[in-house]
Point group: C2
Chain length 303, copies 2
């Protein structure tokens, strides 16, 4: 199974000529999940040649314009392109009211259904679960209700050693049991331990998205051990006071969280456009957490 993230926008509230507003596209085995949808997201989805018409789930972190103003255009485009599939949108706050009153004003009827899932931004909850992946909210703290999202693949079954199937003449039910961890008992009562019959599967992959929040120690267990953590670092360390006042995170704080949560890799974004040199962000982060990269629009990260 494959999991990758394409960064569609990496600016903070004001876009720059190089950085669009926040949006990430998660591709899990050719199923596409959009996370946030700042203005211009539909153009970025086209520009980076994504299969955006196959997005069936959109996860919104919070209802600030730089994270949602691309919804109006994207949802219209879906309709003009003949979409029929139901679109699921997950968000804290009254996004349903905003979009419904918007479409009513515009006199626009979409060709497809939208199913809204209002999420509770105060406690973590599983909001999506299928055979392959689970999405859990990460309660964040911003000026308005805000939530991150953690995508974790289900643990995979053990791999059975091919030679054992023949050697012990394993049937279908035996194989199913062994792949789930059972030992195998021969007719003479001898037990073959599971370890001799199987190899470890590829570890499940995971991705956590944390945008627009005060640095929160309490989220460490929710993002623990994820392969890839996206965390905003709107401000450099020198502006810690400003970060606190505006409910944002500094480079040092994001790096410290990544360290404590033992994540595999950290990608930073939502960089304030006030600084002339973006490279200062990555330097400050890598001082604490070396395996960190800076988000760039169009960057695709294979997990």
């Amino acid at each position: 199974m494959s999991l990758s993230v394409t960064i569609l926008g990496s600016s903070s509230a004001i876009p720059t000529s190089k950085r669009n507003l926040t949006a990430h596209l998660l591709n899990h085995d050719e199923r596409f999940f959009l996370i946030d949808c700042g203005e211009g997201t539909q153009m970025q989805l086209q520009r980076f040649r994504t299969k955006y018409l196959r997005i069936n789930h959109i996860f919104i972190s919070h209802l600030h314009g730089d994270h949602i103003f691309g919804l109006f255009g994207l949802l219209s485009t879906f309709s003009m392109m003949g979409r029929k599939n139901t679109l699921h949108i997950y968000s804290p706050g009254r996004l349903k009211d905003l979009l419904n009153s918007h479409f009513a004003f515009m006199g626009e009827t979409l060709n497809y259904q939208i199913e809204y899932h209002e999420v509770d931004a105060k406690m973590p909850e599983v909001i999506y679960d299928d055979k392959k992946i689970t999405v859990t909210t990460i309660p964040l703290r911003h000026r308005i209700p805000c939530t991150g999202y953690c995508f974790r693949e289900h643990p995979k079954l053990l791999n059975i050693k091919k030679e054992c199937i023949e050697k012990y003449q394993l049937g279908v039910k035996d194989i199913v049991d062994i792949k789930q961890g059972a030992d195998f008992v021969l007719e003479n009562g001898i037990v073959i331990p599971n370890k001799e019959l199987t190899t470890e599967p590829v570890p499940p992959k995971s991705y956590a998205f944390c945008s627009d929040t005060k640095a929160l120690q309490r989220i460490v267990p929710y993002i623990a051990n994820v392969d890839l953590l996206y965390h905003e670092t709107t401000f450099l360390n020198e502006d810690a006071k400003l970060a606190k006042a505006t409910y944002h995170t500094t480079t040092g704080q994001a790096a410290q969280l990544a360290l404590e949560a033992n994540v595999g890799k950290l990608v930073i974004g939502h960089l304030s456009s006030r600084y002339k040199d973006d490279n200062r962000f990555i330097k400050e982060v890598q001082d604490i957490f070396p395996n960190a990269i800076m988000a760039e629009d169009g960057m695709k990260i294979d997990i």
Copy 2:
């Protein structure tokens, strides 16, 4: 005086990887007028290095998403960048209601005032006039109220010949009168005709913007003799029926209008993304009106 147009977006309702949604920036002697504001306009304004913070007047053709969804972000950015100047927005329809309810929902208070000017899309009217330029609406016909805009510089004063000032010892009042067309009378009663004292000024420049409309013969007088006409050509000639059904214009119809209105140059845009080869548009237009070009995002046209 200088007049130029920068094309910020040239797609029709669905953007492409090369064409953003409709918006034009008019620069008249370093005063900036924005015409339409499709999604992504603020990014295009930055990308093409325009002085967008100096826009004080926005002219909206009609309230379809591909012409206005960039307003939410642009107006917010103006506020975040510390704008204080009043912003004037001209539009048919209830744009004021849409934006007011939007900002109320978002809990956003802008740092500056917006003055809304609702225009009548049924008859031409002068909606803006200052010392240098006049803006007149062009009543269009689309599925909802829609108007084009014609920008015409005021006729300039005659240029007085420097040598005449000395020769006839002209005073300030004499000069003012002569520049406005008066003859000069010597003390002995001899009349020096104005033509001997002056040269013709540079002709006033003009630009007309016609977006999203059925082809309308009746607008010919309103756009007569403009130096530059922008006219949508959503469809090729082969799709004339579709153009009619959706209240749009074909290549041939736009070219014919340019010919009849005796315009200097025609720029076409709002090209439907259904055709694989954009060059077909310009070929069909130039068959009728040779001095035509195809809008490209980032193109700056000096008038």
